[in-house]
């Protein structure tokens, strides 16, 4: 309807003008691509004009290290106190003194921890949640992952509150001072979310040392942004009436914030906390590489020895931990604060908490006398490891030829041509096209941002690797979007299919990608096909979720109206459901692209030749500048893609008359 209107509107000539501009631009770039000799400097960035940003960053890091080590090390020491405390409590126990007559205090008993999780589940969500929480924790214990899982839990238990506190503070600051939000906080959050963690691992090691604290801080950088964003959102969403009411009863600024605004925004804030927990769990492998240990390290070690089964079990233990923490925190978010009843003592007010503390204390004391309470007895441990390995071997022996034919076809006829096309693409041409798209979609501001970011990739001498990154991410994101949207539509039509698909989505997102990378390498060899499959498996999740959600949230009344006016099933889908769900689907697509980009680093472990590899080389050489520069390039590719996609979603929405 609206689309038809624009054709007859006075804007028509302008559109024709733009078509001309686009044709001209594409023609220019095509000529440049065919005949690179006219302007070689516009095709390949001249090597003597490369800006040595990497060297500058390295020099800056060295200066920081010599002058501020005292500060960063004191920060490490301060954070180390609660962290070591949590590790002792959950995983290692306390040891006073040294040598044979050292006094040791036991850690919390595993039976007690399982029971405490069950009680927490019962308190927040009734008997079903209690069963789920207990089941997951017992699974971890029986499969012999307890010690590592508790190490991981200790890290999470300290870094999540840290993220939440700092996230809240930053969010409040952003809410109070919108100009700081726009000019500093938003760009910073974008960088924190798109910059691969490996890129800042070396600076972390230099400044904060090879200790669990570095792992914790790296986790915090990655996991904090959702907290800041949801704080801002929560504060903005508080209805004006409540705000005004706070004013009327004479609250000070501080009282209004603490007693009125934050409590009213609690549900949204809890969504942020939930996201922080999930992202923190995503980081466990990375932090295990710099001194933290835990489940992530087990996955890494098992994979080095090709113990697919063991690494799968450690990976699934991470998933189990993620499910418990996710469901518990979601249930906690739904809790309504209970009314305060006077004249109750502590036990009456918090019966579950008291019970949990009692159980923990009781079992831990018992564990001093009964060894079965202290650590999981070997007799009841079990393992599915041989089974996983057998499945992979069986597929390998029976289906390799078919898989190989598929791989070769994909590589020779699809992937390699796209790669060659993109790697040879003139950098100036890309800058021009991207800038034009930015200008057309949003305006001069966006155009300048995307042009500068694209030019950064060329000016640092990373152009070919950037294009290789674009190729792998682009292809993977497209494949993930195609399959994901189709699966999402199917899930939206059938509750049973959705119920089947959602646990798989949860698993794909929390299972460390390393776990499935090695089996995929066994079947698809080292190379781009393997990288693509691993990326698609990870990036498909938001495409499924958002499509499903987008179609399901269409108001019943609209569907009824369409049925009444006589839509066929087909018309209903193409004319009503799809257009109405389009904004959500585009949002999912946006997330898919960003997730695909975040897999670049993991793919470098298979053996791709792009920015991920550059980050890895920098890591091996402990070159802070090189790693950060490549990290910035990856982040900029992500931000450019994100901004352009968002701008086109906005345009689409206004065209469809949805805003």
């Amino acid at each position: 309807m609206t689309v038809a209107d624009t054709r007859t509107s006075p804007r028509a000539p302008a559109i024709a003008g733009w078509t001309l501009i686009w044709v001209a631009a594409v023609a220019c770039v095509a000529i440049l691509y065919m005949l690179p000799d006219i302007a070689p400097w516009a095709v390949k960035y001249p090597s003597d004009a490369v800006i040595p940003i990497a060297d500058w960053i390295s020099a800056f890091m060295a200066w920081l290290k010599t002058n501020f080590t005292w500060l960063t090390r004191s920060i490490t020491d301060v954070f180390n106190v609660p962290l070591q405390w949590a590790i002792s409590l959950l995983a290692k126990g306390w040891k006073f003194g040294y040598g044979p007559d050292a006094l040791t205090l036991p850690r919390l008993s595993w039976i007690g921890v399982c029971a405490a999780f069950a009680l927490a589940g019962y308190a927040f969500g009734g008997i079903r949640l209690a069963a789920l929480a207990a089941g997951c924790m017992i699974y971890i214990a029986l499969f012999g992952q307890w010690d590592s899982a508790m190490l991981t839990l200790a890290l999470i238990a300290i870094s999540v509150p840290l993220c939440v506190i700092f996230g809240l503070l930053l969010g409040i600051l952003a809410f109070r001072k919108p100009w700081i939000d726009r000019s500093i906080i938003q760009p910073m959050l974008d960088l924190m979310q798109t910059m691969p963690t490996f890129a800042y691992l070396i600076p972390m090691l230099l400044l904060f040392g090879n200790s669990p604290v570095s792992g914790m801080l790296a986790t915090a950088i990655f996991a904090m942004p959702p907290m800041v964003r949801s704080t801002v959102l929560a504060l903005k969403r508080v209805p004006h009436e409540i705000d005004d009411f706070g004013e009327m009863v004479g609250c000070t600024q501080r009282q209004k914030l603490l007693k009125v605004l934050l409590p009213s925004g609690r549900p949204t804030l809890m969504v942020g906390v939930n996201q922080v927990i999930m992202l923190a769990l995503n980081m466990v492998i990375i932090s295990s590489m710099i001194g933290a240990g835990g489940l992530g390290y087990d996955v890494l070690l098992a994979l080095r020895a090709l113990k697919i089964g063991q690494s799968m079990e450690a990976g699934l233990a991470i998933v189990a931990l993620a499910i418990v923490l996710d469901r518990l925190s979601q249930a906690a978010a739904r809790q309504r604060p209970s009314a305060h009843v006077p004249d109750q003592n502590f036990v009456q007010r918090y019966p579950m908490l008291t019970a949990a503390v009692a159980v923990l204390a009781g079992t831990t004391v018992l564990s001093h006398f009964v060894p079965a309470f202290a650590s999981v007895p070997a007799a009841i441990k079990m393992s599915t490891a041989p089974w996983w390995k057998a499945v992979v071997d069986w597929v390998n022996i029976h289906f390799f030829d078919a898989i190989e034919a598929f791989r070769t076809f994909l590589l020779l006829y699809i992937l390699n041509p796209i790669r060659d096309f993109l790697v040879g693409f003139p950098w100036l041409g890309m800058v021009l096209l991207v800038g034009l798209a930015g200008y057309r979609l949003s305006g001069a501001r966006l155009a300048v941002i995307v042009v500068l970011m694209t030019a950064f990739c060329a000016a640092t001498g990373l152009w070919e690797k950037s294009m290789a990154t674009l190729y792998l991410c682009g292809v993977s994101a497209i494949v993930a979007a195609l399959f994901g949207i189709a699966l999402g539509i199917a899930a939206s039509r059938s509750d049973r299919f959705a119920a089947f698909l959602m646990p798989i989505c949860d698993t794909l997102q929390t299972l460390p990608s390393f776990c499935f990378i090695i089996p995929v390498v066994m079947l698809f060899r080292v190379g781009d096909v393997t990288a693509m499959i691993a990326t698609v498996l990870f990036a498909i999740v938001p495409a499924i979720r958002y499509t499903n959600h987008g179609i399901r949230q269409i108001p019943e009344s609209l569907i009824e109206a369409a049925t009444v006016s006589g839509c066929t099933r087909r018309q209903m889908f193409w004319r009503v459901q799809l257009p109405l769900a389009l904004p959500e689907i585009m949002l999912g697509l946006n997330q898919t692209v960003l997730l695909a980009l975040s897999m670049i680093i993991i793919c470098a472990m298979i053996g791709t030749r792009d920015l991920g590899q550059e980050v890895f080389i920098a890591l091996a050489k402990a070159d802070a500048g090189r790693g950060l520069t490549a990290g910035f390039a990856i982040a900029f590719i992500g931000i450019v893609a994100d901004r352009l996609l968002r701008a086109s979603t906005d345009r689409l929405q206004s065209r469809l008359g949805l805003v």
């Binding site: 090879n210 001194g291 066994m522 402990a622």
Partner: protein, 322 residues
């Protein structure tokens, strides 16, 4: 804002003080009671050596911790400032440049060789000998038929050679060019990916030619042979005139080398006794392979295997501590 920050900081500082006050003064143990940190990396033999050395030091009364770390970058980060005190395996073959960089900082110390010699070379499973009878001589690989036997559809007619990560200083692209081998070099990103391909191919008796190193569990688990290239000499990597190709460097096999132990420079003064043991610590290559096999192939835990070695070799390590 300021008040919040202040609150957080004071809270942290109080917690720090409390925990310090809570610790009872330790009984007299050798030199210093601070924990000696021995790095764990992500392969079996290094962790075995770390746990054995750490176990010995524990028996001698030292307090030992095992932080996990990254192999190459630890040489120029953790070991330079005492976040890591000892690293037990740095291979000449993969970490030569990183060790040079570490030596240049002057804050680390090379504790001498661990004992086993590192060997790395192109490797193939025995069943490939039927398809390429001239092996293990490298000249057999020049035969187009032989190269074809090692090829995949995307490299054909050239053979496919699976090299290690680019960071491993392998010079395989250069080697292929200098020796005129009809092969395409594919780099794996990690050795996990490399051995995954080997395991997959070995199960199907499919062609594979790849970079393998020893000591490692792979040569023990899979039957195969090293390709025999012209023996490495330092001149081969620096002087084009050396070797079969007078115009190119790298016309030889990969260097063999030592595996080195490294320590933080302060180890010597802070824990002289532990320093002596770490410096004296060596292990026999066959023994190490056997111990690695017990972990990787028989599924025993690293801690058990290490403890068993310590109990069986008490006389040996008591000698080191003297």
């Amino acid at each position: 804002m300021y008040r919040y920050v202040k609150g957080v900081l004071t809270g942290g500082a109080c917690a720090a003080l409390l925990s310090l006050a809570g610790l009872p003064q330790a009984m007299a143990a050798p030199e210093s009671n601070d924990p000696i940190k021995i790095a764990l990396f992500d392969w079996t033999s290094v962790n075995l050596n770390a746990k054995i050395l750490g176990g010995i030091l524990t028996k001698l009364g030292y307090n030992v911790e095992y932080p996990t770390a990254d192999y190459l970058s630890s040489l120029t980060t953790g070991l330079t400032n005492g976040d890591i005190d000892i690293g037990v395996e740095f291979w000449d073959t993969t970490a030569a440049e990183a060790m040079k960089a570490s030596d240049a900082t002057g804050q680390t110390e090379r504790l001498g060789a661990l004992g086993p010699k590192a060997k790395e070379e192109w490797w193939y499973p025995l069943y490939m000998k039927e398809k390429c009878p001239g092996l293990p001589d490298w000249k057999a690989l020049k035969d187009p038929k032989c190269a074809e036997a090692f090829s995949t559809p995307d490299t054909a007619p050239k053979g496919r050679y699976l090299g290690g990560p680019v960071t491993w200083e392998g010079f395989d692209d250069e080697r292929v060019e200098a020796l005129g081998l009809p092969f395409t070099v594919v780099h794996a990103g990690t050795d996990g990916a490399m051995f995954a391909e080997l395991d997959s191919a070995y199960q199907r008796k499919a062609p594979i030619l790849l970079w393998i190193y020893s000591p490692h569990w792979a040569p023990a688990k899979y039957q195969g042979e090293w390709v025999q290239f012209p023996e490495y000499e330092p001149a081969c990597y620096t002087d084009p005139k050396w070797g079969v190709n007078p115009d190119k460097k790298y016309d030889c096999g990969k260097p063999h080398g030592e595996i080195w132990k490294y320590s933080w420079k302060g180890l010597k003064d802070k824990w002289p006794g532990a320093y002596k043991v770490a410096k004296a610590y060596t292990i026999d290559v066959n023994e190490l392979n056997k111990l690695s096999g017990q972990v990787d192939l028989d599924g025993k835990s690293i801690d058990d295997v290490a403890a068993q070695w310590i109990n069986a070799n008490e006389a040996k390590w008591k000698e080191w501590a003297k």
